[in-house]
Structures are given as structure tokens and as C-alpha cells.
């Protein structure tokens, strides 16, 4: 039997195959929610959904363009608005 703390549903259960062929349950903290576009709240693609993001290279954590917190369509809109403001 697992410890009482491990029996609660606040932990995520992973089924893992050991080298000997048995299946064991591993307990982990739950994954964070999907990152979302700051403008339209659509889930962002290309961003890993995990804790300890500092273990991932920076280039794999977010898109390599300005407005990395926006989805591509909103980012394009933002860039166009900026251009038109500069043009007056």
C-alpha cells in the first residue's frame, strides 16, 4: 500500500515499466495548465507543458520571435498595429 499522502488525487499517477517487466506506479506533482495567448486566451503551441522549465533549453521554451506571449495571429496583428502607429 502507498503512503496515505500518495493516495490523494492531488498527485498524478504514472505507470512505469521496470527493467524486470513489472509495472510500478510513480507519483508526481500534477502538470501546470497549458500556456495561453495573452490576448485571445487560445492555448499556445510549441511551449512544453511541464514543471522545471529551466531544464529545457531557452530556444525550446518559447517561439523565437517578438511577442512570444501571443499566438501567431495576434502577434501579426500587434506588429501591424505598431507599424501603422509609426507611420501615423
Amino acid at each position: 500500500m502507498p503512503r496515505p499522502a500518495q493516495r490523494s488525487s492531488k498527485l498524478r499517477k504514472l505507470r512505469i515499466k521496470t527493467p524486470g517487466g513489472r509495472v510500478k506506479v510513480r507519483f508526481e506533482k500534477r502538470r501546470p495548465g497549458k500556456p495561453k495567448c495573452a490576448k485571445c486566451k487560445k492555448p499556445l503551441s510549441g511551449v512544453p507543458r511541464m514543471r522545471k522549465l529551466d531544464r529545457v533549453p531557452k530556444s525550446q521554451r518559447r517561439p523565437e520571435r517578438p511577442y512570444a506571449n501571443l499566438c501567431p495571429t495576434c502577434a501579426r496583428q500587434q506588429i501591424k498595429e505598431k507599424i501603422y502607429k509609426l507611420a501615423g
Binding site: R65, P66, R76
Partner: protein, 135 residues
């Protein structure tokens, strides 16, 4: 709209938000584009039409012009100051100055070293003598 010489802004990818110039039409959907890289950091490359936002400005260049010609056209049109771009010459000059400085620096220490060495030589034997006395 996207004829040779048209100044655009890229709206997708790693170069999004940077200025570029259309050089020639390749295909229904693609054009050849350049920053040039020394001026706006946009590489000379193929680009989808839908990823470009055309501006009102136009440069006087031939289709498929080279980067140096585009730079001269930028200067002629006075767009470098208008778009607040950093001209590449300002970046190149300090690099050359650094290289010259680096080339000069190693020469000076070589001349100075022989002067210092005799002093060190005089010091070292003293230390050695001290060590010998300690032993």
C-alpha cells in the same frame, strides 16, 4: 504591390517585426527578400507573400539587386534615418579598430618584456637562495 524595391515588414518567424526589401518575384506565392542583413538583420532569403506587410516606401533598385546596391539605395532615399535603423558602417568601424588594437597590443608587451625580464631574473635567484637556505 510587392514589386522589386518595395520596403516591407516581416510579420512571421524569427525575423518578425524587421524591415526588408523585395528583390524579385520567384513564384505565385514567394518573393526573394533581403534586409540587407548588415542593416536590419534579415537574411537574403525566399519569403511567403502572406508573411510580408508592405509599406509606402519604395527603393530604386533593379530586380535581383545585390545587398550593397540596396544599402546605397537606402541611403539615397534617406530611409535609414526615417525608420531609425542603425547603419552598418558604425558597427564595422569599431571592429576594425579593435582588430588593429589587438594587433598592436601584442607588439608592445614584447618590447616591454625584455626590460622586465632582467628584473625578474634578479628576483628569482634571491628566492632560490632563500629556499636553499630554508632547506
Amino acid at each position: 504591390m510587392l514589386e522589386p524595391g518595395r520596403v516591407c515588414v516581416k510579420t512571421a518567424g524569427r525575423e518578425a517585426g524587421r524591415y526588408c526589401v523585395v528583390l524579385k518575384k520567384l513564384d505565385e506565392n514567394f518573393v526573394l527578400v533581403t534586409g540587407p542583413k548588415s542593416l536590419t538583420k534579415v537574411k537574403r532569403r525566399k519569403c511567403n507573400i502572406e508573411h510580408l506587410e508592405p509599406l509606402e516606401y519604395k527603393l530604386e533598385i533593379k530586380a535581383g539587386a545585390e545587398d550593397e546596391e540596396v544599402l546605397k539605395a537606402y541611403e539615397k532615399a534617406g530611409l535609414i534615418e526615417k525608420l531609425k535603423l542603425q547603419p552598418p558602417k558604425a558597427e564595422e568601424k569599431p571592429k576594425k579598430a579593435e582588430k588593429k588594437a589587438k594587433e598592436k597590443k601584442p607588439e608592445k608587451p614584447e618590447k616591454e618584456k625584455p626590460k622586465e625580464k632582467p628584473e625578474k631574473k634578479t628576483k628569482k635567484p634571491e628566492k632560490a637562495e632563500k629556499k636553499k637556505t630554508k632547506k
